[in-house]
Symmetry: C3
Subunit: 332 residues, 3 copies
């Protein structure tokens, strides 16, 4: 149904911080971009996600979405995102039409427009999660649909449920967001998750540290937005500069392909590897996060460290998606 056509926030950010939005606000909404979420909405969502955690721990599943059908329409495979939505829907008692592989070979893509495909699939289902390689495709789908569309990633565009689960993990691990020092480490130029999480964090009273090789610094326009917000921010090219002070270390992958030659890559990568030795310099109460998959930037010997939150972060994604599915279908 489109959420309002031009990706501006649905809510005034001046609204009372700490107050949760009423659940009916989400009913029938599409979830396209992080700027739809103000503090009231985030507070509501995190409350619900917390309840989902209890539900899963105690009963595994419930009947809240019994009779509802979710279509997972993935034009490109993303096993972890589709698995997370499938588990979320099933644990709420709903069912799933899994179109998660091979869409490119099927009639869906044989010359049919995305709006037509969406209008076909909404005849069978009550909500659709769309993963698509093209920026803006979730908004196109939302404008065609009469059922809620949840953006499961549209190319280099948005992947709002990832950003929400990242923020929820900080909230859960450290008991809140205000007052924290959050360091983003790795590829800050191309890392979509870093950009979305940063935009969400600007709604809170945080300090930000951006740590990256010179060629992978945060894009200019996002950096300007951060500066304009007036929050405390610093850039660095070595994780040593932030490790002693950070409450959150959000680590991302540095892809070899981003560098002109292998030597340039080898030169920088050690400055960004998280090891047990590095962790000895970190605060006792802090968390390491990672959107996964990792390929070496966090050493596996760090996994046993209680501050390593990246697998708990994965499970938080299921709780956030449960909360979102229930919310857009109007089930409290």
């Amino acid at each position: 149904m489109g959420y309002d056509g031009n990706l501006t926030p649905l809510f005034d950010l001046a609204s009372q911080p700490g107050r949760a939005a009423p659940y009916t606000e989400f009913l029938g909404q599409d979830i396209i971009a992080v700027d739809q979420f103000d503090r009231r909405r985030l507070a509501y969502l995190f409350q619900r996600a917390d309840e989902m955690r209890d539900l899963v721990a105690h009963a595994g599943a419930c009947d809240l979405l019994r009779g509802y059908v979710l279509t997972c329409l993935f034009y490109e495979p993303s096993t972890r995102t589709s698995a997370s939505f499938i588990a979320a829907m099933q644990r709420l008692g709903g069912t799933v039409i899994p179109i998660t592989q091979g869409v490119q070979f099927s009639s869906v893509s044989k010359g049919e427009s995305l709006p037509d495909t969406i209008r076909v699939l909404e005849q069978y289902s009550d909500v659709i999660v769309l993963r698509h390689p093209d920026v803006g495709s979730a908004q196109v789908a939302a404008e065609a649909a009469t059922v809620p569309i949840i953006n499961g990633g549209d190319g280099v565009g948005e992947h709002p449920t990832q950003a929400l689960l990242d923020l929820f993990t900080i909230y859960e691990e450290l008991g809140g967001v205000d007052g924290l020092k959050v360091a983003m480490v790795g590829d800050l130029r191309y890392g979509r998750t870093v950009h979305s999480l940063t935009r969400l964090l600007l709604q809170y009273n945080v300090s930000l540290r951006f740590v990256s090789p010179d060629t992978l610094r945060l894009p200019l326009n996002l950096m300007n937005t951060v500066i304009d917000s007036g929050i405390n921010v610093r850039e660095s090219d070595n994780v040593q500069d932030v490790i002693g002070d950070a409450d959150v270390l959000y680590v991302t992958r540095i892809q070899k392909e981003r560098f002109g030659d292998a030597a340039a890559y080898d030169e920088v990568k050690d400055a960004y590897e998280i090891t047990p030795a590095l962790m000895r310099q970190a605060k006792e109460k802090m968390v390491i996060m990672h959107p996964l998959p990792r390929v070496g930037e966090i050493h596996t010997s760090v996994d046993a460290d209680p501050r390593a939150a990246y697998f708990r972060q994965v499970q938080n994604g299921m709780f956030i998606r449960m909360a979102l599915l229930a919310a857009v279908l109007g089930k409290a």
Copy 2:
């Protein structure tokens, strides 16, 4: 189990029109071809499909097929057909084994005969929907199986659930079938859905109009069958000839590849495009249908016209499939 080996109708067409068949008639039957359906059976099916519409509108799902497992065995991908059957089974409370992609790579196809594959899968499931590129494969499967086989399309052969949903849509949109003027437009030579729907319509008191380029006219033997039935029929090569009079406009895709050269295609295609201008010449109470996907033969600006029934037609497919699944499993 095979329905009777040589595709002749199971029921005498002379049976009382308007009377619904008792539901037990379907129990354990395979659904292979449209000539299995006389008016009594169609009346029964449409009654049940109507109930399914109510069920979905009010409750989303029910427990009628709780404990039943459907295997969707698709040797070629067909996202819309498999999605429709999956939603249908789930909304009846049953579950699905989705073998809908990549069968060609798996052990199922590694030299194993279709009858063996069917006899394996029926050990796990209570009903099987088969999509296969070879004509006659559904009948081969039915002869091997002890559970009901539903033909989800066997190459250029049959695709009975599509024809049933097409007829059901006419019935729902216009309150009945007798007395209507139905125009079929586009590729009438290769269009499998046109052939099947035409055969079903011959059981009713209708007038038929066939509108196609000269090279894509209805096949000779089917045209002769239509003529022999004694119903009112005309052919034409321009949709203008039928638009003012038709109660149903059943539009199909004209594929460029059917023409020797692009010029020949460009010459004819405009005579078959459905536009708002054309719709102004149509009756106020009529319906445009299309088996989808479309690639331009119905202009998207027609979508908002209340007579545009093609997306409602898609949902009718789910209701018909719910009715069929319940019927062959003997659940009233």
Copy 3:
């Protein structure tokens, strides 16, 4: 969680034969290899699988695993194994995340280690079935996981649920295992199912007959294990030698590719084909089994013979998998 790190049996084989293990023994266990199963455990499992047969016959499904989610993680496609596990989980009231096709294209395999993938997926699910081309991968997964891992086949390594369903079929068809004469026929060198079943059978008081072409005889080390066990064993190169005496004929496929030239293959293959003529020499009460798919080594005209148990064997696989899933999740 790893079952104990070095694939030694969990139970002393000297334990009382005929006594079933208490069900709590399976709670939280990984199912990696057949040598985890002593007679007590097998007795327990077969009792439970028998109950599952009754359940499916009378109700189709139950609520035993309601609220539980199974992830089927298949790095190589195996339609029959994944379909069997999916049906098993659904008939117990649980749900499934089906990652059964195309894993090689998705983020799961993009450089992510198997332990990381497992630790991600266990955040969503309560039990994982893993199919992987590499020997030992199930054990690697089990060591990383906190939820039970069931080995669905790891390359030329183990495929324990196949061996369990094979043994269960003998038990069901003939009322027990002790005292039987079991003949294994075909490719005994590469046939993984033959090796696993043989190892299970050594726990019983059986006679074994191995019938194969000279180049496809049982591997030396397994043959020595059989001999050391002290049971009655003979080898042969013609099924005629065993047909009159065998209680069980376990037939496997002889793959053409195993032979240097087609002539060598054609020479031997007739000596291993099961035909109605051959069956006339067999005992009245015996069973023919086959792990399927077959490609000609059992003539289809044998299918109607009541001794042909290979399709019943398939269904037994579903019952065994239901019993295992319930057991490792601690549901009696």
